[in-house]
Amino acid sequence: MALNRKIAYIDLTTGDIQTKAIPLAVRKKFLGGRGLDAYLLYNHTKKGCDPLGPDNALMISGGILTATCASATSRTHIMAKSPLTGMLGSANMGGFFAPELAWAGFHHLVIKGKAKNPSYIYIHNGEIEIRDARGIWGQSVTDAQWSIRQEMGDEEIKSCVCGPAGENLVRFANVMTGVKNAAGRTGMGCVMGSKNLKAVSARGTMDIEIAHPVEALEYNKGFISQITSAKVNQTQGTLGTPFIWGATNSWGGVRTRNFQYNQCEYSDDIEPERIDEICEETMGPYHMTGCFGCQVHCRAQYKIPEGPLAGKYDEGPEYTSLGAFGAETDTPRALTVLTGNHLVDQFGMDNLETGSLISWAMELYELGIITDKQTDGLDLSWGNDEAVLEMVERIAYRKGFLGDALADGGIPASKKIGKKSFDYLIQVKGMSNLHSDERATPALALNVATASRGSDHLRSRPAIDLYHLPEEVLRKIYSNPVAYDGPLSSEHTEYIGKPWQVFWQENLYMGVDCLGICKYHTVFLGVTLPTFEEWSKVLYFNTGIEMTPEEIWEVARRCNMIERLFNLREGLQRNDLEKGDMLNHRYFDEPCRRGALDVIGISIDKKKFVKMVDELYRHQGLDKNGVPKPETLESLGLENEPSHLV
C-alpha cells in the first residue's frame, strides 16, 4: 500500500544506501511530498551549509497519494538548499517520474555527498544502485533519458535529470523528466550537477494496494468530473496555459521590457490561438497531452516550424515561456518563444529565470549600465530575437562575461556589474519574479513578496482574486476548513482581507503538494475545484488514513512553518531586499503605463503593503519580524525542531 513506501538515504561520497519505513506518526504530521521534504531538509542539513557542497541534501519525492487511485497524482517534488537564493530550494513537476518511483518502492529519496565521477542512481523494485554516467555527461535533457533507457534495455524507465546547465552549475538549472516537465525554480539541477549526479532513474512493478478500492474508484470518477467540468480546465485542455497569458496581457498584467511596461504590444504572433494553430499545423488536431492520470491534458505538443531547429519536437510553450521569451524581452514572435522554450528544455534551465535575467540585462544595456564590452559585442537592444536566443546558450554554457555573470543569478550578477544594476533587478529573496505584473493586484504582490522559495506565484497566489467574485462566494471558499470572519473584498485593487486569502492559499497549495496532486486540481484558477474536504475523503479511500479537513489544514500550516524555520535559519530578514519579504522599489515608485482602466496609473501603496505583511504574519502566527512565536511552534508541535524522527 501507499503507506509502506520508504525513504532511501543515499550518500554519493561513500556509496552507502540506507532504506527506512516512514512511521505513521510522521505521515500524520507531514503527509508526504513537499511537506515531508521540508521536514527532511530541515533535519538533514546544517545551518549555513554550502548549497553546492556535499553536505547539502537533495530530496526527490512523490506525495502520499502518488500513483494511487486519485486523479493526477503525477507530481514529483525536489527540494534542497538553493544555490540561487541560499535559502529554501523547492520545485515541483508533473510527468511520470513520481508514480514510477512509488511503484519501485519509494516515496522519498535523501541524496547527500558528491560522487567521484559523473553518476546516476537506478532504482528498481526496492533495489538501489549507483551507476556510472560518464558516457551520458554532457548530454541534453532528453538524450540523457533515452540513453539510460538504451543502456538498461528498458523503454519504461522514467528519469529525473539535469541538463548541461546543471553540469555547468548555472544557479537556476532545473531538474527535468520527459520532454518538458521541469522542476524549474531555485536551481535544483545545479545541486544535482554539484553532486556529479546526472540522473535518478526508476522502474517499478510493485503493488500499491488501495485501502478501499471500490470507493476510491467511484470517488475518483466524481472527483475527475468536478475537475474537468470547470471551464478553466476545459480551456486549459484546448489552449494550454498560454490562454492565461493571453487574458492577462490583454488586461495589462504582463511585465514587458523587464519592468518598463505591463502589457506586451503587437503580440498577435504569440496569442494562445496562434500558438495553438502552430501546434495543430505541426502535430495534427489532437496535440494536447497529459501527465499521469490527468484528464485536463493542458500540455500542447509542437514542432519548431522553421529556422535552424525546424522539425525539433517539444511540448508547451507554457504561460511562462511566452512571458520569458516574448514579453519581457519584447520579442513577441512565435518562433522566438518556441525556440527559446526548446533551448531551455534541452539545456535544463529555468525558463522564467532565464528570460527575466536576459530582459534585465537588456534594460541595463539600454541604460548604458552594461555596454558592448560586457556583451562581447552582442546587441542587446529590445526586440532582438537572435540576441535573446544567443544569450540563452551563453548562460547555459557560461560563455563570455555576461553569460557567466547571469548564470550565477541576479544578485551575484548585479554585484559584478555594479553601478545601479541591482535597482532594476525584479526579484525577491534572490529569485526573479514571474513575468506577471502585480502592481494592480495587492494580493498577488503580497504573495510574491512572502512566498517561501523566493518570488513565486505557485506558493500562495490567490489568482481567483482577479475574478471579482461576490463577497459571499469568497467567504464560502475562504472560511473553510477553518472559520474566518474578517473582511474580504471582491475588488482586486483593494488591500482589505488579502492577507487572509494569501494565508489560505499558502496552506491550500502546501496541502496539494503534500498529497502529490497538481494545482490545477484545486482552487488555483478554478473556483469550484476540490479542496480540503474532498482531500480528506480521497486520502481515506486510498490510504485508509482518517484525517479531517481541519487536520489536513494543520499539516499544511506545520509544513509551511518548517519552510519558514529553514529560511530564518539561513538568514531571512523581513525587510532585507536580498533575503526578505520585500518587493523591488519599482512596485511602489513606478505606476503601470499600459492596460485596462483599472490598471493604468496604478502602483502598490507601500504603507498599505507593510500593513498587509503585518496582518499576514499575524495569521501565520509570526511576530512583527516574521519570526514564529513560541506558542505557534508549540501548537503545531514544532517546538523541538530539528526532531530527527526520520
Binding site: 511520470f96 512493478t205 499521469f292 492520470g293
Partner: protein
Amino acid sequence: MAKVLYVDHEKCTGCRLCELVCAVSHDGISNPARSRIRVLKWEAEGIYIPMTCQQCQDAPCLNVCPVKAISRDEELGRVSVDYNTCIGCRSCVSVCPFGAMNFNATDRRVLKCDVCDGDPQCVRFCDVKAVDFIEAGEVAIRKSRKAAKRVSDAGKQAADLQALI
C-alpha cells in the same frame, strides 16, 4: 452483436489513467503491470498508442492453449481464461501477436482484457474517447468517415488553390 474496444490512438493524451483504473478495478491495486491495457509511448516524438486485447475471432491464445482453458464468450464478445483450468504455461503470452496476453509475476498468472463484463472501466474514465466501446460494425464506418474527412479537406484545399490561380 457484442461491442468491442476501439482504440483511436490519435486521440490518446498518454495519461495512462486507463492502466490505473484497469488495475484498481480488477485487483484493487495500483500497478500498471496488472493492467490489461497498456499505453506504449514514443516520447521523443509525442506518440502514444494504447494496446489491449483484440478479442480475435480466430484467437491464437485460444488455439495454442494445451489445456483448453481459453474460450470465446459470444455474449460478451470476449476471449476469456478459466483460471481453474489454466496451468500457467504462458504459451498464450508467447503467441499473442499484440502482446495483449500479459503475465503477472506477483500472482504468477496470465491476465487479459475481459471488457469488465460489458462496462469497460478504461472507456468510462477516458474523457477524450481514445478508447471507446462500440459495435464491431461501427468501427469501420468511423474510420471511413475520418478518412473521407481527409479527402474532403484535401479537396477543399485544392479548390482554394484553384481559386488562387
